[in-house]
């Protein structure tokens, strides 16, 4: 016999839409990880839990922001049934371009206008890189994996070529490049950028026609085609957005590390894809939410922080993370079959 209370809860659970159920499950898992992180946290000198210190919690947010921002747009790309492997290289290109403009170019403008120009140049070239991939994918109907793999290699080459293989040091002085770094490297700025972009992208996906098109293209491209949706334009847009956000993440990276680094961001595409997948978006497209992606990003961040605070061997850390990814996807599958 099923006790009535549980049956009642089951009925309530059943009434929640499948998508929201997934999100609730992810949020629940995140809460569980946070709870464990707090319980397992070592104590500070004054007896408080280090994990729960405001400084530590904001550390986590700042540390996940860069990959977090990339994974927002990655979610859109994956929702259309695509993938973007070029994001790490675009990040590197953006760090390089902004650092080069700010250190090598003396246009005699005011600091703020030169910073604005550097930022715009980096964002423009990043968006253009994404748009180029998008155009090839949309117009020639080439697999996104192949096109963005080419982008990943080619754009890395461009970044290295522009910087002559060397890092472009931004420095710590009073010049315009240092001003850029000190403004953009602030914890509040980094976290704030992530929060604002996350909100914008959540609205874009959940509340706009464009968001509906993105899902429709990934859910059933043929049906979307017969329904007269602008499939090509949607694809062009999502890869452009991916380029734009990767470029933006590059700005934050350049400021945080005080350098334009053509070798930056290697493997970030995989971190971003992991966050999206853990967040419940299906690689086949069509289903997923921004909230899920944010939760996925935070899960990895909290988990990393928890393991690092407890000084777990970094190889064990990688094994645990691998396990978590499989587990997250397995849990979502289970839920689907049960529901």
């Amino acid at each position: 016999m099923t006790p009535p209370a549980i049956a009642g809860a089951g009925a309530v659970w059943k009434r929640i839409s499948a998508q929201n159920r997934d999100v609730l499950k992810s949020v629940g898992a995140l809460a569980a990880i946070c709870l464990f992180a707090a319980l397992l946290s070592p104590r500070a000198g004054d007896g408080s839990y280090i994990f729960l210190q405001l400084g530590n919690l904001t550390d986590i947010l700042r540390q996940v922001s860069i990959v977090g921002i990339i994974s927002l747009a990655m979610n859109f790309v994956i929702l259309t049934g695509g993938i973007d492997l070029s994001v790490g290289s675009i990040l590197a290109l953006s760090t390089t371009v902004v650092a080069l403009v700010l250190t090598k170019w003396q246009p005699g403008l005011s600091d703020s206008s030169e910073i604005a120009l550097g930022v715009l140049a980096a964002l423009a070239i990043s968006t253009a890189s994404g748009a180029l991939s998008g155009a090839v994918i949309a117009i020639f109907d080439v697999q996104p994996f192949v096109v963005t793999l080419a982008g990943m290699i080619g754009i890395r080459g461009l970044a290295k070529w522009l910087s002559n293989n060397a890092n472009v040091d931004v420095g710590f002085g009073q010049d315009v490049a240092s001003t850029f770094a000190s403004v953009f490297r602030g914890k509040a700025v980094t976290i704030g950028c992530y929060a604002v972009l996350a909100s914008l992208f959540a609205v874009l996906l959940g509340r706009t026609v464009f968001g509906r098109y993105v899902r429709a293209v990934g859910d059933n491209e043929r049906a979307a085609l017969y329904a007269g949706l602008p499939i090509r334009r949607v694809k062009l847009w999502v890869y452009s957005l991916s380029g734009l956000l990767s470029g933006f993440a590059g700005l934050l990276y350049a400021a945080e590390n005080h350098q334009g680094n053509p070798n930056a961001g290697v493997g970030y595409e995989l971190d971003a894809i992991a966050a999206v997948v853990i967040g419940g978006t299906q690689l086949s497209g069509g289903k997923g939410t921004i909230l899920g992606t944010i939760v996925g990003t935070l899960m990895i961040g909290v988990l990393t922080n928890m393991l690092r605070l407890n000084n777990v061997d970094s190889n064990v850390e990688m094994m645990i993370k691998g396990g978590i990814i499989v587990l997250a996807v397995a849990v979502q599958k289970q839920g689907k079959r049960a529901g």
Partner: protein, 331 residues
């Protein structure tokens, strides 16, 4: 209904089990309570490099011998952001001593300043940063290594041609890194005095043997006569050797490396085997670090110097056998 609920609880059980397993692994890492233990946190740039794993191995051994130190090593996997995050997390734990081997100079400067601001003693190991945000810096001198390499090559060429002249290929490490810059500059300063010693190519192989082999293959295709390959580390020198061997030209030139690690894969063995003509032991700097670190931990009145320099050593086939240690580090 009942069946569906079971389906929902199973994944939750799975999650709980995994986290408990993780928790178990974590709790094994906690130090056993007892006498006063010092907590030393070491942020290593990249465990995957042999030089750095040798550092880890020696440091673990020396601190274990000390008895009152719990050492924790975090591996940044050659990623600046990752290393900054790891140092930040260490700062939260307020270690008694923080040792940082920076992945790159600029990226770690600010966060190490943050550690200093939190009154954590900081030892900067081997690679300098942009501002002196450390209590002390323990390093060797790459400029001296570069100069020693330049002089060795000059003497070799003078012996070969009766005067210092000839062609040199310089295989460079990761550009923008202090070691690569100074190993280049030290040698370049020597060559500058001898206009007949010509650098005919200076490819970049980012410290990596496989990449050096590819770059050297291209150089060999383009140049009919090469006297010396000077590589900024031993793996790249070996990579260049392999490229030359593949084209049957390995006897035409000599190969000079830097690092001189022990063990069968290290540079000293390669000198013994006649693959490298010479290497320069870039010291791990770990013995000095541990010595200074223990003094800082145990003696509150001890004030370390701002900088300790550990001197390099030339390894040739003559002294290689006595310097070679089959398993451990050469220190």
């Amino acid at each position: 209904m009942k069946i569906k609920l079971i389906h929902l609880t199973r994944p939750l059980l799975l999650v709980t089990a995994t986290i408990l397993l993780a928790a178990e692994m974590i709790s094994c890492n906690h130090a056993s309570p007892g006498k006063r233990q010092f907590f030393v946190a070491f942020s290593q740039a990249n465990n995957a490099e042999p030089y750095r794993s040798a550092q880890n191995e020696l440091m673990t051994r020396l601190f274990a011998r000390a008895g009152d130190v719990k050492l924790v090593i975090a591996d940044a996997q050659q990623d600046n952001s990752k290393q900054v995050a790891q140092v930040e997390t260490f700062i939260r734990q307020h270690p008694d001593l923080l040792i940082v081997a920076p992945n790159e100079r600029a990226a770690l400067t600010a966060v190490m300043g943050e550690a200093m601001a939190q009154k954590i003693p900081v030892i900067c190991l081997e690679r300098d940063i942009m501002q002196p945000n450390y209590t002390t810096l323990v390093h060797s001198n790459n400029l001296v290594i570069g100069r020693m390499a330049g002089e060795f090559i000059r003497d070799y060429l003078a012996g070969k041609y009766k005067q210092p002249k000839g062609t040199v290929v310089e295989m460079q490490g990761l550009l923008g890194v202090e070691a690569a810059m100074n190993r280049h500059k030290g040698a370049a300063d020597v060559f500058a005095q001898y206009p007949d010693i010509r650098i005919i190519a200076n490819p970049v192989a980012d410290w990596i043997q496989a990449r050096a082999k590819d770059r050297m293959t291209e150089v060999l295709r383009g140049h009919a006569s090469i006297d010396v390959v000077y590589a900024h580390n031993d793996p790249m020198a070996v990579g260049a050797y392999l490229a030359a061997k593949e084209l049957g030209r390995e006897r035409e030139m000599i190969f000079v490396g830097v690092d001189g690690l022990g063990g069968p894969a290290g540079g000293i063995k390669k000198v013994q085997d006649g693959i490298l003509a010479a290497t320069f032991v870039y010291p791990l700097c770990v013995e000095k670090t541990v010595e200074v670190g223990l003094k800082m931990l145990r003696d509150p009145n001890f004030h370390p110097e701002k900088e300790y320099s550990v001197s390099p050593q030339l390894v040739t086939p003559q002294n290689a056998p006595e310097l070679y240690k089959p398993t451990g580090q050469n220190q």
